[in-house]
Amino acid sequence: MSRGSDDNGGATKKEAEHARFIELAAGFCEASLSEPQWRELEALLLARPALRAQFQTWSAIHGQLAWSFGGRSERPLAPLTLAGSKQKRGWSLPAIRMLSIVGLAATVLITFLVFRPHPSVAPENNQGPIVASLADLVGEAEIVSPTGQRTTATAHQALRLKDTLRTLGEDGFAAVTYEDGTRLELSPETELQFVPYLANPDNQPLASGKKLLLMQGTVRAQVAKQPADQPLLLASPNAQMRVLGTSLTFTATNTSSRVELEEGQVQFTRKFDGQAVDVEAGFYAVAASDRPLRAEPLPKLKSYAQTILKPGGGGGAVLDPGAAFLAGLRSKVVQTWNVRTGEETAALKYHHGKATRLLFSPNSRLLVIAGSDGKPLLWNLDQSAPHKLALEGAPLALAFSADSKTVALVGKNSPAAIQRWDAAGGAALADWVTTAGGIASLAFAPDGKSLALGTMGGRVVLWDIASERAERTFAVGNGYVTGVLFSPDGRWIAAMRRADAKLMLWSVEDGGDPVPLSAHGAAIHAIAFSPDSRFLAAGTHDGNVTVWTAADKTESLWFTTHGQSVLSLAFTADSQSLLSASYPGLIEFWRMPKPAAGL
């Protein structure tokens, strides 16, 4: 009894010490410790090596945050070619060395003065100066002020220093213009912050300086010529660059950043190790921890046909599996278009909140329209009135059976239950309750005997319908598996996470470890198998499409679409062409490589 009591006492003392450590370490980071508190922290850290180790990491986090957000990493450290360039003009080596030392020290000193953050930069009334304006807006976007206040963005609105502009949903698009003609186009689901540009000796933000932090998403930038001493600074959590005047596309995800150059040249720097690479027009580079930083050529493949949908439709768009129609959301109207002629084929008013998801049935005649609020609709495209589906909560996952007779959805309110309806009449069928955990995506096997369930925990579960049991499982990564897809022959399951640039291909027959396939571009948005199950295609947020041969998992094709971000992909029935639908409303037709002789 007394032993247990001692243990409890010890544990309580440790907890109290830890709580006190947190308080004092916070004071250390905020420079608010009094002298007795400094001594107390020192005594505590001396006495407890474990807390000292924690303090090392805690204070390292403090330093890394200060470095990353403080813009310190953008400071040039040394002119690397000084010695060589001067030597050609006949300078002696000692003079060069002296110049190097003086020059470099001066560079360091000047750049320190120039870039050092200054508390007076923040206007106390939180209304920063106007830096740019919102020229075009499609769909929804919001502006977040430095204090976290959100307002819905409107066209022609002024954008202020330290504002964050966010495009929302799959149809949010915004174009920002500066007075000098620089134009930035934000793809859907993009977050861009207008950061103070501290580039004069008084450390006051320069009205003409442009500094942008891309937290996530894709920005296409057409940058007017900038002063040589005041380049546009474009950064993400992983990378940064100085832009003097060029056209480029910059994409940021959680784990990587990518730049593609259409014109001009930039020096692209990976933040975590300071490595830099020059990227020229027609080349791209990716900053990520798991691949070398280098400039590589962009693909030159051209689409053989294009359809531009009018009027600018296509937000949140999805192609039908037969590659004949595109369904898109525009305001409160769901429309379908013929992808070859661009003509509208059907339209339906949607009065149930904001529609966010669309799904065609395999026979292309049914469409599920799901929103963040309101009940999903099941729309037979040959009829005018849709069926309302009584789903519990906003939809997480939706799928049709291969014969298009059943539609299945998972709602947020009961994420382990699969609710089903008869697709012909909208009558509710019995639910399937799984033990897979929260379901984030699902797909029916072509033979109708099993389901692939993508879970919120980063796994894919192969679930047998007859026995209502999980048969096998494979891991995809951490977090929601946002898409799963069976190949039409049922031999493969492809699984994706929306933020990743990799997808997993798993052999249903072999059941071994899934094979990761790395897509060109960042953040996969859409995947599709060809009807002959030979090809698997993935389209990314920054407009790239990668095609692999499923059997040997090799890359067969890579191209860049001319739209902003790839929304949907579909192969033609003969598997010889791939259609890409990219924002805003551009359909492109791409020819697939012919099989090698003997295959």
């Binding site: 905020e30 850290l45 403090h62 890394q64 200060a66 190097s100 976290g148």
Partner: protein
């Protein structure tokens, strides 16, 4: 030193800027102070760069100079700023130097962990560090008390600490 050696020295020193800044922040607390000392360390390293031999450990050399410069800085600032004792700073500096090679791993883990923070927390961290804002400024901006903000920042740093530790642990075991 040959020009290619100078180039290598400059490249290595450039790559060391972030680890050195973090190292100095660990000892000094205030990023602005770390920045001041880092500039001085850079100046000294450039003055002495001819004695650097390519292939030797620049990080170890730089941290030795940095440690000395922290003590010098402390002496200059002693009337204005409070700090740890010289002896304890020496202990912290030695331990921080051992951890220097892991800095880039931690920095990568931190980037990933930042994206997992709830949005209000991420915003608070951004505002705190974007301008090196002090508690008074932040409190006015967020209309909150300074102790409450300090607690929030401490909680967020602890969340990041747990996330980084988990991330590095799982990488080590994979």
């Amino acid at each position: 030193m040959q020009s290619h050696e100078l180039k290598q020295f400059a490249q290595e020193l450039t790559a060391l800027q972030r680890p050195l800044f973090v190292y100095l922040t660990k000892l000094l607390g205030r990023p602005v102070d770390a920045e001041d000392v880092l500039q001085e360390v850079n100046r000294i390293l450039w003055e002495k760069y001819e004695s650097f031999e390519a292939g030797t450990n620049l990080a170890a050399w730089a941290t030795r100079i940095a440690q000395y410069e922290v003590l010098t800085f402390r002496k200059k600032q002693s009337r204005q700023r409070l700090c740890f004792s010289d002896e304890f700073l020496g202990l912290l500096a030695d331990e921080a130097a051992v951890q220097l090679p892991r800095e880039s791993e931690e920095a990568q883990a931190l980037q990933s962990c930042l994206t997992k923070l709830p949005e209000p927390d991420r915003l608070l961290i951004q505002q705190r560090y974007l301008e090196d804002a002090d508690l008074r400024q932040l409190a006015a901006r967020f209309n909150r008390s300074e102790p409450s903000l300090c607690r929030s920042l401490a909680r967020i740093r602890q969340t990041l600490f747990d996330c980084i530790r988990g991330s590095l642990h799982s990488e080590a075991n994979s």
